[in-house]
Amino acid sequence: MKETPLIPAGVKRCSTWQFSLWMTAATAVLAWGVYAMILIWWKGLNQTNMNDAYGFALWIWADLAIIAIGGGAFFSGFLTYIIGKKELKNIINFAVIIGFICYSCALLILAIDIGQPLRGWFIFWHANVHSMLTEVAFCLSCYFAVLTIEFIPLILENPKLNKKPFLHHLSHNMHGIMAIFAATGVFLSFFHQGSLGGVAGVLYGRPFAFREHIFIWPWTFFLFTWSAAACGPCFTILVTWITEKITRKKLVKQSVIQLFAKISGWMIITYIIAKTIDTVYWAFVTAPGMGFTLMDFYASPTYNIGILFAEIVLCGFIPGLILITKRGRENSFLLMTAVILAVIGVCLNRWVMVLQVMAVPVFSFNDWYTYWPSWQEVATTVLPVAYGIIVISLAHRYLPVFPQEKELNPID
């Protein structure tokens, strides 16, 4: 089958065999993940190294982390459609695709993570509205629907598909009302990012996770939403940069990146200040009230105080400060350092909120709990990466993802 009619006009793509080779590699990794996934569904969660003390582990971290870094989608939608930052239209397609990948994987991981996948729909049908997880599941799936709706018109813009009048019109009409969808998506995202924060915050039996008074609501909710909004764009920038390196093409104008980075920088700074306030109150008021000193929570060789430093200073204030200064942003090395640090920071935060919560002993006579994922867990966590690479490669090859590509890479 000839590929040419599938490729958008006016852009250059690598040769079919090059592309096939690339896709084969990614598919191999994907297959490994899928094998592990099937193994887990068939044999049950005994395929993991989770245990009764570590009921939440690698997957839940991966879930929280990819939802956070997929936050670029809702936040760029918010900026573009609600605030009216029109420049961001040049990156929003890509942000949506990344969001779509992240959220579809988040749902997939949830489906692997539960002990009874065939009963998974109970979370909707028999919903307990007081549970943070219910809120997460509802908003996650609704928002995933929104992302799909946002992704569909882009798919329909594939030259081959767009020839069908119905699909052409559909794409067009969906574009026409996209602002409404985007607004709904922003609304849903605010909700579920927040409730993900609540997932740990409401665990009042877990002194490490628990927050009091306003620090539980709206603070933990707010922190999660804010950090996703702050660091999601960084991930979008990072993936754009990687895509540019791999395709050896400039895909988005630097001015767009700069704007996105600047907004992100201010978000990070404000977020990390709020996070610091939260940490100080927690360390000096909440924890002692339950009989813990701050250092009790960092008394393990793995979970030492360095973790807190890394999360707040190294991956918080530093990238924030780089991104809000013009010189920092314009230096491409500093820009990418900041972007990477911010992404690590938000992932580290999710790690701490899941795995350290489980590791900290609550009884004075218990030891720290340790856990090391099984290969099946690692494989299913790597699966989204391979899946993401495949989706991005396909999208970039066959869809007009980057509106500025043609202008930036004119074909002679």
């Binding site: 909707f124 049908w125 028999h126 919903a127 307990n128 509205v129 007081h130 219910t134 809120e135 509802f138 609704c142 629907a145 929104v146 709706i149 009048p165 119905f166 699909l167 052409h168 019109h169 559909l170 067009h172 009409n173 969906m174 026409g176 009302i177 409404i180 969808f181 709904t184 609304f187 849903l188 909700f191």
Partner: protein, 56 residues
């Protein structure tokens, strides 16, 4: 999830939570239906109704 479900209770938290959910779902549903129906008419009408594409 639905008022006829066993766990359903008409209290504040249900109204807020489910209200938000159904609100979001109906917007998505309505928007999607609108887009599809309009596209059906657009494509059935063929060249007659050029209004929308013309606006690009």
């Amino acid at each position: 999830m639905f008022p006829f479900c066993f766990e359903w209770a008409w209290d504040m938290s249900h109204v807020v939570f489910m209200g938000a959910l159904w609100y979001a779902l109906s917007i998505i549903g309505a928007g999607l239906t609108f887009a599809i129906v309009k596209s059906v008419f657009d494509s059935a009408g063929g060249g007659h109704d050029d209004q929308d594409p013309g606006h690009h």
